[in-house]
Symmetry: C2
Subunit: 264 residues, 2 copies
């Protein structure tokens, strides 16, 4: 039986990664799980995020997956460093690919990171970046209002502009030339972030790099699907209507057949 790529996120954000996976791996089956009953993860403790992540991995393993993409920055940064060696299935997070791309992109060795409280507190981006280049100066800022703003659909206008100005000020002061959008919701705020940071600052949205990494691993392991009609299945732990309403904005197309499961 053909195995699928498993993807999970606390909610809808991981669909930005799924979009890239579909683009780069058009023959692959994908099983997506959004933990909408317990969303958001960004404000929860490391311990709790680890527990939720284990439960999500176990759910996806039951769906016959060959690789699991942790398409949530909070879960990737809080749980993956601890969990990676405990599972036989390859686990691909969103931190390392973003960190690598940022190190590659920076010219002045000043990188900014924005993310949820959980992601910033974990300092995982710092750890990853310093391993690649210990000389890089990192400025990290938590932006807790960005996720609710995106989910409310306020992507432009005075409110989001002022919120973004306040959050991004320390990054402008630090003169970063590269900014990691360390949360799967943030790519939807790219226009406003670009306007505030200026065109000369490179914005790193790890989705593309994550898909490249997934492809590389599947290729190395001989697990790529060469052909076939791909199936994309979507599971949520709550509120399929809410998920469906937001999904189009993240995936770039409507999502059908969203199934609610009671696994958590």
């Amino acid at each position: 039986m053909k195995k699928a790529i498993g993807v999970f996120d606390s909610g809808v954000g991981g669909l930005t990664v799924t979009r890239e996976l579909i683009a780069q791996l058009p023959n692959e089956d994908i099983v997506y799980f959004g933990d909408t009953a317990r969303v958001p993860y960004g404000i929860k403790s490391k311990e709790t995020v680890i527990r939720f992540t284990i439960e999500n991995i176990l759910f996806l393993l039951k769906q016959n997956v060959k690789l699991i993409c942790v398409a949530c920055n909070t879960a990737s940064s809080c749980a993956l460093p601890v969990l990676k060696k405990n599972f036989r299935v390859p686990l691909v997070g969103v931190i390392s690919p973003g960190a690598r791309e940022a190190v590659y992109a920076t010219r002045n060795k000043r990188i900014g990171v924005i993310g949820t409280k959980g992601t910033i507190k974990s300092r995982t981006y710092e750890t990853e970046i310093r391993q690649l280049d210990p000389e890089i100066k990192i400025t990290a800022v938590a932006c807790p209002l960005f996720v609710p703003l995106v989910e409310e659909g306020w992507l432009e206008g005075g409110v989001v502009e002022e919120v973004a100005r306040r959050y991004l000020e320390p990054l402008k002061k630090a003169k970063v030339d590269t900014l990691i959008l360390g949360c799967t919701h943030y790519p939807l705020l790219k226009p406003i972030i670009r306007r505030i940071m200026g065109k000369e600052v490179t914005l790193i949205d790890s989705a593309k790099q994550v898909a490249i990494e997934v492809k590389k691993i599947l290729d190395q392991e001989g697990l790529l699907n060469k052909n076939g009609r791909p199936q994309h299945r979507f599971y949520v732990s709550d509120n399929p209507e809410w998920f469906s309403g937001l999904a189009k904005r993240f995936l770039g197309r409507p999502v059908k057949n969203i199934k609610k499961v009671n696994n958590v």
Copy 2:
């Protein structure tokens, strides 16, 4: 053994009700549970909020409580109408007391309600108000950004002002003379809401009425504590530090001895 009053909320918001309970019932023991591992409830489905509410009630029953106060508008509006008759312990929600007070306060029979998506979608305030006076015109608006703004501590300034102006506009247009703050976080935004709505609009914050109702029920059932040194215990399902950091703002004094439990 002396029994306590149980209180639960999805997070810290219920502390505004707890504050009133302590003020009006200074001899009572209180056991508070904040479901911070699954907060917020306001964006979740009715079915899931019912499930969480049952689990929270069962947890509090194990703590030897004589009454449970559902100090969360979303749980009160989505779950209480369904659950009320299933438990022997008295369950006091925050909807009826607020609705009653609003009906009592209005002169022009136009009442506004603001709350989370879950609360507004449930239409429980409408149902309660219409039972008391079917002629009243109700305008209800969901304000999803208010909770994250309060938790970020942005209670004044340009951002919250503009967000509030946008949310409150239909209520001003509807010329309500009474506005129910249908979420335990919203009392912290009272100054700005009052400024936008105008001084002639009565703001209903149900905490006081809830405490009066709790007192009445305990008195009727002969369950009031006449004396004794009250004990206040606080449990959370995640992140005691986060809870503690916000608690002072809601309870009006620091909270000590917050215990993390793994019940959910």
